[in-house]
Symmetry: C2
Subunit: 322 residues, 2 copies
């Protein structure tokens, strides 16, 4: 069996794993990113890490990074956050020079989607839409095992408009899916609801779960409080699920996927969130003939999704069947 | 030069054209649909029409139809509106039997998109998103010359949600793009605005252009009145353009197309509509790095787009380069 080295370039650490053709991780290691030192030194550390996890059958490298690497050349189109001068950096060529292995790169959200599609919750599905509900909403579309890239490798499915008069989004648009249905948005809306509810807000479990410091209120606490039967928390979660269903339904209607996968922090809420979103999709948030051809499921691979997706990309680049 | 016969199956007429490898129409004819007689008789008339327009170099048939034909087998998945018992009907096989020519079919909105992508406003573009703004909003996505079909051949890009608390849509969802930004929606909103404005409404050009019969107010009259400087009409058109930009921007952000094409009745309004939508997309209705990689243009092929797209499909089915 052949294998590849998969790399996940994060803001704090670079993680790497040796992955076989069966999609199983055989070894793993990590090293500090130290982004501030610049991409040349980051790549040197990547190469060091590759040396630690590669084996005699290793035939390529797959790499997930923030920002936008060109899927063919591996040169960075747009900047990787926190790494100075990353736009235009020839990421894959440099990594290949240092390791002697062919290297391919893609945006980390795309590789999360590819990983879940290959070995996770989307296994065997023809069209997989992955949504990562965290600080923002990232994601990717995998059609027949291939990541959809658009014309300039910038698909931002978290930035569809779900509310014409909604919140301003960090991206500069108004009413984005991400601005209303990310884990951060859910926590912010819950915080505002507690503040607006006055005395009832202070009696709510939402207030108790953050020890009265509303800045510390998390989406997880919101879901926990809702599960424990708190009235205000349930109203807030219902509202978040309205937005989640509107955005998810939009993407289902437009893209007709066989499978939608939720990952990220908010997806850990389990049935209390999934059941509410599914109920809305089955009512008036998706076109029923299209929703019936689809399903909404929870991600399976957790933090390893990006590594597994990077491995899949490396096998494809090396022309090795999986 | 080889040619194919392209067919556009409409509710009133079946139109056909002989189209060369250069995408030019060499001959055309039409025949009544008489949908109520059922698909078997409709196909018999189609075959008669093919006999009239085919030539010695004709090597295949491409067919655009309402409803959802399977792109591989040409069997109808879902019903073609107005034709009894059309679901499950083996449309392409029957047409091939009757004509001795290979036949391929696709949904008419998809073939509009394919036609504009091949020979019209999207010529040479890598990723083309076509939106037909008429009674509803139809459309299609063409990636590298191929129509994107989703998993069950049902992509409904007019049914993304642009307003969480918006209008109920005929599809059963709430706040759909189509329910707010189609030509029909624009006319309805203008009608309601005139009614709500009381005396000022009756003084508006909107009222005059329909002779006081608001049921007859059209999107075209709305655009004409706005162009002539009518204040109320301009407010209404601004509102329609808000929705148009929100939906178009959503699709731009999610799909990163190189080109967005507006067709259908509302697109005939020209600069007074396009300029307003572009201004919104360039401000806060699209993510600017993605919008900068795209453009918004008017369809070029008019009613022939579907025929040209059907021809493109037929050439592909027959394995003939274009």
């Amino acid at each position: 069996m052949k294998d590849v080295v998969a790399i996940d370039l994060g803001g704090t650490n670079i993680r790497a794993a040796r992955v076989g053709q069966d999609g199983k991780i055989q070894a793993r290691d990590k090293i500090e990113t130290r982004a501030a030192e610049g991409f040349e030194k980051v790549v040197a550390r990547m190469a060091e890490l590759v040396g630690k996890v590669r084996g005699p059958q290793t035939c390529g490298i797959g790499l997930g990074t923030p920002g936008t690497p060109d899927p063919v050349t591996g040169v960075m189109h747009s900047a990787a956050v926190n790494i100075p001068d990353s736009a235009g950096f020839p990421l894959c060529p440099r990594l290949s020079e240092r390791t002697g292995l062919p290297a391919a790169a893609d945006n980390d959200a795309n590789l999360h989607a590819l990983g879940e599609s290959w070995q996770g919750a989307g296994r065997g599905e023809a069209v997989v839409l992955m949504l990562t509900l965290g600080t923002g909403i990232g994601g990717g579309l995998v059609i027949g095992g291939q990541v959809y890239h658009g014309v300039s490798n910038s698909t931002e499915i978290g930035h569809i408009c779900v509310d014409l008069n909604g919140r301003p989004c960090a991206c500069g648009c108004i009413g984005c899916f991400e601005a209303h249905a990310s884990a951060n948005a859910a926590a912010r809306d819950a915080r505002e609801a507690v503040q607006a509810a006055g005395k009832k807000g202070k009696e709510s479990l939402l207030y108790k779960k953050c020890g009265g410091d509303l800045e510390k209120l998390t989406a997880q606490a919101l879901c926990d409080a809702a599960r424990e039967g708190d009235t205000l928390a349930n109203l807030c979660l219902d509202r978040t699920c309205d937005y989640l269903a509107a955005g998810t339904g939009s993407l289902i209607n437009a893209l007709n996927p066989s499978c939608v996968i939720y990952g990220g922090g908010l997806a850990l809420a389990g049935p209390i969130l999934f059941d509410r979103v599914r109920a809305r999709l089955g009512k008036n948030r998706a076109y029923q003939p299209i929703w019936k051809a689809s399903k909404l499921v929870e991600a399976k691979l957790g933090d390893d999704a990006g590594l597994i997706g990077a491995a899949r990309l490396a096998f494809e680049k090396a022309g090795i069947p999986v």
